[in-house]
Subunit: 298 residues, 2 copies
């Protein structure tokens, strides 16, 4: 296995982006992803691909970027590094479906390199069902566990806990959804680099079969105004997490990335109904009861 | 003029809250503000007053709080103080109207005291029209200028510039709305304290006549789906400012305030339409052209 260099990593991630868009389009059956190439003034660029008003997906983004340049001092401090030049490439995905019975999903896979020679991989997949279905949650985590187990039997437990801690809305004291896996700063020898990259690609390749499964399974289920309002409220929480806590969003806003690409993660519509209290024993109340750390799904 | 102590300041601010709610209810004519008293575990409490689904106001909050206790270290750093006990009281208002021709408004007046003996006043009023009307903007700033001029002829220019800088969405390179006034850390001698408090109350008393004027003037103007979508988009920007930049929101989330009270500033519904571009020479495009610093309205 050759050690992958940054050009190779970027190329493979760009291929991943294309493959995922094709899979989502085929399952949605109605809308297509737009293609926008953009350049970053200070170095590099990306391809933003957005699908709007599909049959199943209301608003979804699958973004690729490979950027380089000067690392702002506040980011250097946040990353605890002391080098001013960086290279970063990755694929970021968020899908907001039309039907509240289809979950919101997020995936990110990324590679980061500094002029000092330091490098690392990071990423994760997490699921945010508007309504938690226990079988779906178990199945989802089982898929992620199998990918992790192919590389290291200790990783799923570690990365699952990491996701619980990362995708947490502290001020609400609730997790964003049912979690998934999250990892960062995977680094080591040159041999590790090839292995970590294989893992990163394996995570990336898990996305399409997992999410198209949920699309096919739930897109035709009935729902009414009550479910749409609950979806707006859950999306509001999603907005809170992304704008208040998400490091990727912050990094993008602070490094002057392309704003519309960074904020494609926000839903077309979201809501904040003052002091909403779910009906006792409703599906909404059940969902909230699952929004906590430490649930062992797999 | 006696020097006001913290109990007196809190009492007067609570009266201000009640008077503003009455004025808004009378003008709205349909809905009433709820009254919720809450206590903060670590000291103090407040009164949250929310009006939902009025004839003119879709969702509005007028909150009073008087809290005290231990100041978390991250807040101490942010405030550049070295004292661990604080007292804070204030009134915070955000009104989101039904009709996109009525502007969103925000006001905050507050008093802050530390166990070291340090104290200061802060606050401001700013207007966020979904559609900027030049005459309205001039009139609004003129009202604020007159209040400031009664105390110090240099204040309006200073506090107007401060508002331009504060209510700024850096990542969008646009101001939140047409600004207003913003001030913080007003402190000095005991004699100054009485004068600053009079100013704070004068700002607070400006709110009701100014906003009810806009309610009466615009609430019956026609609008369609295009205007409602634009309103959702402008509200999305409002959400971005409040969650990413607003220090009051951050202070509340970090000190473990009452979440639903802090986030009452968020609209009932907001939207993010990917890469929206206004039609050339439309009211939407004209509005964006005014969302910049340094416009001399008064």
């Amino acid at each position: 296995m050759n050690t992958p260099d940054r050009a190779h990593i970027a190329e493979r991630l760009q291929q991943l982006q294309a493959a995922i868009c094709t899979a989502l389009e085929n399952t949605d059956g109605a809308a297509r992803f737009s293609v926008e190439n953009w350049n970053r003034e200070e170095g590099g660029g990306g391809i933003t691909r957005i699908l709007q008003h599909g049959k199943i997906i209301e608003k979804g983004g699958v973004n690729f970027s490979a950027v380089h340049g000067h690392l702002p001092e506040n980011i250097q401090r946040a990353l605890k590094v002391n080098t001013s030049e960086f290279f970063a490439t990755g694929v970021s995905i968020v899908q907001h479906p039309v039907n509240p019975n289809v979950p919101i999903i997020h995936m990110n896979v990324r590679y980061f390199e500094l002029s000092s020679g330091e490098w690392w991989f990071g990423g994760g997949i997490d699921l945010t069902p508007h309504y938690v279905d226990e079988n779906d949650a178990k199945w989802f985590h089982q898929q992620l566990k199998e990918v992790c187990d192919r590389f290291d039997s200790s990783w799923y437990a570690k990365f699952k806990t990491w996701a619980d801690d990362y995708f947490y809305i502290t001020h609400r004291e609730e997790t964003r959804g049912i979690g998934g896996i999250f990892f960062d700063r995977l680094t080591g020898t040159e041999q590790d680099k090839a292995r970590f990259f294989e893992f990163l690609l394996a995570v990336g390749e898990t996305f399409a079969p997992v999410y198209t499964h949920f699309m096919r399974q739930h897109a035709d289920e009935p729902y009414g105004e009550n479910e749409k309002n609950w979806q707006l409220l859950r999306r509001g929480r999603y907005v809170e997490f992304n704008l208040v806590y998400d490091k990727g969003t912050r990094f993008g806003l602070d490094t002057g990335g392309r704003i519309e690409s960074i904020l494609m993660s926000l839903p077309e519509k979201a809501g904040w109904f003052y002091d909403f209290k779910p009906t006792p024993k409703s599906r909404e109340e059940l969902t909230i009861s699952w929004l906590r750390k430490g649930v062992q799904w797999a």
